[in-house]
Amino acid sequence: MSERLEVNKTFKLVVKGAFVRSESGRSYEVRDAAGGFLANVAQASRKDLRDAVVAARAAQGAWWDASAYNRGQVLYRWAEMAESRRDELVDLVGAVEGHKKKDALGHVGRAIDRIVWYAGWTDKVAQVLGGANPVAGPFFNFSQPGPCGVVGVIAPQESSLEGFVNCVAAPLCVGNAVVAVASEQRPTPALALAEMSVTSDFPPGVLNVLSGFGAELMGQLASHGDVDGIDLSGSGDAADELARVAADSIKRVYRERSNDVENPLRRLRTFVETTTVWHTIGQ
């Protein structure tokens, strides 16, 4: 009897809730920590990025219009999906990051727990980051946090899953739509988690994940006029230049600080737009 051939998976981009190959038709090889072949992944072009931004812009309104409670449910559903496919994520993280199974399990567990943590934040942002302001006059004055719109994410290059979750879950939880560029050399865990988001009741287009070469995609994402904020966590040495480019379209920019104890709320706060509303008392 002949030996069974393995059915290997080519990872595709996740755009508008669908799995697409790059419009350019390109793909590249992902290698494991020891340098062996792992998988082929689609190599996104700037046109794929453009399409993803259009999809995100179209979906963002519906995502913010959903109740905070509902957004929390959807994020929690995403965690449920990830939990049920945890072994797959453990294998993928272990392979690209070169961890033993026990360590990989730890990374995946923390990533899933972080999604749950942000799911809990959706209906608490208004109280913690907003509030009623005391003013000298017969007025109510409220500060209401809302999303800044479409957020671009350049996910961390080293931490393929935990880092990715930290970067995308924060803007999602406050009602933003996200276009994320996964780690260039380690994109498979993020792409798998993005696949799970498609079966988690996210409106299509709220989370779009691309794999490809940073040099080709980062500048386009930072300069794109219809992207309202950008997380530069995975951009390395290019961060200064990207932040400068992002200023042309007045983007909110999140950068990792050196010697900084990571405060997850800082990321969440970066992608919040606060509206202040005055209302007369007694009418």
Partner: protein
Amino acid sequence: MASLRPAEVRARGVLIPTVVSIPSIDTDEELRRHVRSLSGVDAVGLESRVAKLGTRSLKLSTKMTAIDLAISMVDLTTLEGADTPGRVSSLCAKARRPDPTDAVVPHVAAVCVYPDLVALAGRALADTSVAVASVATAFPSGRASLGVKLHDVAEAIDAGADEIDMVIDRGAFLAGRWGQVFDEIVAVKAACGDAHLKVILETGELVTYDNVKRASWIAMLAGADFIKTSTGKVGVNATLPVALVMLEAVRDFAELSGRVTGVKVAGGIRGTKDALRYLVLVNETVGDAWLSPEYFRFGASSLLNDLLMQRRKQLSGVYPRPDEFSGD
């Protein structure tokens, strides 16, 4: 609008005869014989040709030229029950200078409105070469008596319309009363005087490619200056295969009669990519003589913004924000 002399016009390299010989149609029988003699449309071949031409891609300076050409071919349209004088005024301002930050961008071909707003649009565009087009003849259904339709046209003409977009009676066409359709177009053409007549076939309601071809010929034989795909008010609007059928009909008619008819595609064309596909189709079917606002138009509203956005992207290398361009 000055017409090209026939001798200057080539369709796919074939010089159109200088002798103008439009087949004379005097009786219903003659029309029927003429239209019946048209060959059938090969639907499979048609769609595969469109699919093949759709893969052509324009780059760099060619793309810039094509975008500017497409802008100059736009009939900026608002045909809503909710149209207000303010909305039409702002549309006219946009028509004369589509991108206020860049004076190099050409103005559009025309502004297309309902007859009651023609006078207003005419005043707003008085000192420009942007034409005022008006729909008429009980647009969009065309379900009214000929007298009402002609009155509709006369009002638009009196108000100063340069171009009339009429609808054909699809009910009559589909019931086989081609003569009635023909006679109505002839009557409306007479009522138009100097104004250009665009005949809307409403191809989404004609069901088959053969019908589109027949309706195109009936309109051209009756004297249409333009044939137009759709009103934009039904489910199926302009499509590439239908445009190809019409362009081929226009080419064949020009070769036979020496008269050049324009084509206007309308409805559902929202993106630059779509517009450029139509331009490729025009160039490959009837030739570059038709690549001018005089003979090819896009009936659209949101298309213009996408053209402007792509134009700016070509110049700056950066994707602009859609709300940098005015809505209506």
